[in-house]
Every structure is written in C-alpha cells, then in structure tokens.
C-alpha cells in the first residue's frame, strides 16, 4: 500500500495550495550518466542542496495499466521531440531500450525531503519516435529474457567483449588494432594471434554420445 509522508498528507488535504506535485524522470544512460527531467516550466533541484537539477521538459504520462492476467505493468511516457534534444541519446544507445528509469513524485513546497512521495523503477522496453514526440514504454524487466545461469561453458564462443577500442575488455587483451571487430569464434581469435586468451572452452567435446560417471 502506498504510504505518504506527513507533509504530503497535509498538502493533499489542503483545500487550496500554491505547491505543485512534480513528476521527475531519472534516465540512466549507458555511461552511467543521468538525464534528469521534470514536468514543469522551471528547473528543479531535488533534494535541495544536492546539486541534482532536473531540467524543465514537456512530457506526459498515460495511465498505468494493470490486469488480472499477470501481465507486466506498462506505462507510456510521451516526451516532446520538437527540439530533438533527446535524439543524440536515442541514436547512440538503441533508443535507450533496456535502460533504467526512476520515476518520482515530489512536492514543490517540500523539496528538502529526500524521500519522494512516489518512487517507481522501470526499464525502457520500447521506444518510438516521430517528429513531435518520443514515446517510451516503461515496464518491468522480462524475467524470461534474463540469462541464467549468468556464465555458461560454450565450446566455440568467447565470453569476453572484443578489446576495441583499447580498454574495452582487458580479458580479451587484443591490442594490435588491425581488426575492428570479432565474431567471437576460436578461428577469429587465432586470426588475431590472440588465441591464448580465448574466452571459450574448446576442450568441451562435441557430437557423439557421452555418459556421466555421476
């Protein structure tokens, strides 16, 4: 059950108030930077003194949908795209699909409170763009898409990221710079004179029938 702070309950019950319920969006980018947006016509620093300034930005939220079939909750958020200010982020990072979003509601008269009145975490599961709006679909992470167990033993598939640009993955360690990509197979690794660092498990036998001694 949603619990509100004492200040929020007092504000909610007032017959008239100059305070504003502000909706904040905190989008985490690939490089761990954050895009902070507030649905308002003035920038907001929250919590006061933290240095985190949420930029005024026009966006709208649809109603949150929930059904008895156990589907994930889906929330569509339409962000203005008139100035194209979000396009560089979208183009650089696959429409921000898979990135985390924090949605908070705070009250403008109580920006010193560090806990928001509503605090929800989502993943961006779909992004559509037209000339007027960017529509993000916020939902929960689909558990069927999570790899489990995290690490698997594969015969001919390197589990490391290709080390280009240099420093991408020191476990791969490829540093000659002749090749700009890798298809992760042992053959490709040998071609790059890097097979001593191959991240697959070529010793796993393939084909035939095997029996266990367990």
């Amino acid at each position: 059950m949603l619990s509100l702070s004492g200040a929020a309950i007092a504000e909610k019950n007032k017959l008239s108030s100059s305070g504003v319920w502000l909706i904040l969006l905190d989008i985490t980018l690939a490089d761990d930077n954050h895009v902070l947006l507030v649905r308002n016509n003035e920038d907001i620093e929250w919590p006061t003194g933290s240095g985190d300034t949420y930029q005024k930005f026009p966006f709208d939220l649809d109603d949150m949908k929930e059904d008895k079939a156990g589907e994930h909750i889906v929330l569509n958020v339409r962000v203005s795209n008139v100035t194209r200010s979000l396009m560089p982020y979208l183009e650089a990072d696959k429409g921000l699909v898979g990135r985390s979003v924090r949605l908070c509601v705070v009250h403008s008269d109580h920006l010193d409170l560090e806990s928001p009145e509503i605090d929800e975490y989502f993943k961006i599961t779909r992004t559509t763009v037209d000339v007027m709006t960017v529509t993000f679909e916020f939902s929960a992470e689909n558990l069927f898409n999570i790899q489990f167990p995290t690490d698997r033993f594969l015969k001919n598939w390197c589990r490391f990221r290709f080390n280009y640009p240099l420093g991408t993955d020191v476990r791969c360690g490829y540093s000659e710079g002749v090749y700009l990509e890798c298809n992760k197979t042992l053959a490709a690794c040998r071609q790059r004179n890097n097979s001593s660092r191959f991240g697959g498990f070529p010793g796993i036998p393939g084909g035939g029938v095997y029996t266990s001694n367990a």
Partner: protein
C-alpha cells in the same frame, strides 16, 4: 541569444496590455460542495500586447525582417527589454505583428503584436 531591435519609437501606452500567459490552477469539485485547488506549474510566464502607434517605415521594415527572418515569428526566443519596468525578459512572439498604415500615408505604420515569456 538575439536581442529585439532598437526602434526609434517606444510602444504606445494606449493599446499596451499585460497579462499572465496561462492560468495554472487545477480545480476539483467535490460532492460535499467544496472545491480543492492547486497549481499545475511552479512558474507563470507573462505576456504583453505591444502596440507601436506611429512607426516610421524604416523601423517597420526592421521589425518585419526581425519577425520573418531572425526569429521566424514564434519559433525562436529573444531578449526584450520591457520599457515599463526596464527588465530584460526572454520572450517569443505569441501573436505575430500586424502592420497597418497610419492615416493616408505609407510613411508611418501601426504595428501590433503579442510577446510571451519563455
């Protein structure tokens, strides 16, 4: 940011209007007969209706070029010094300037438009 051009005339007092750009009030009426109100935004921009009564043609052309080519009517914002309080506001054109000749001559023009705070 672009500045509003300096013209030889100030806007006339007659025709000057100041107002808020919008009303941010959200109202909810309840069965019990009372009304609950609160604000939608933390800031209310202002808007101004500007009227130049007798603007020479040269100034009218400057204003016309500024509106058409520099800020593309309401597309871009610019700095404008309010002649009444001398405060510089960032504004855009909310209603485009209309130019009408004054009297029977085309040497002087009446120009009327609306600015709104960004």
């Amino acid at each position: 940011m672009t500045d509003f051009p300096t013209l030889s005339e100030n806007p006339s007092v007659e025709g000057w209007e100041e107002d808020l750009a919008f009303d941010p009030t959200i109202r909810s009426s309840f069965e019990g007969g009372y009304v609950q109100t609160r604000a939608r935004t933390t800031r209310i921009p202002e808007k101004w209706k500007i009227k130049y009564e007798v603007l020479p043609t040269a100034d009218k052309d400057i204003l016309k070029v500024f509106q058409r080519d520099t800020v593309l009517v309401g597309s871009s914002s610019f700095n404008w010094t309010n002649p009444i309080d001398s405060v510089v506001y960032e504004v855009r054109i909310a209603e485009k300037f209309v130019f009408t000749p004054t009297g029977n001559t085309i040497d002087f023009w009446t120009c009327e438009g609306v600015f709104e705070e960004v």
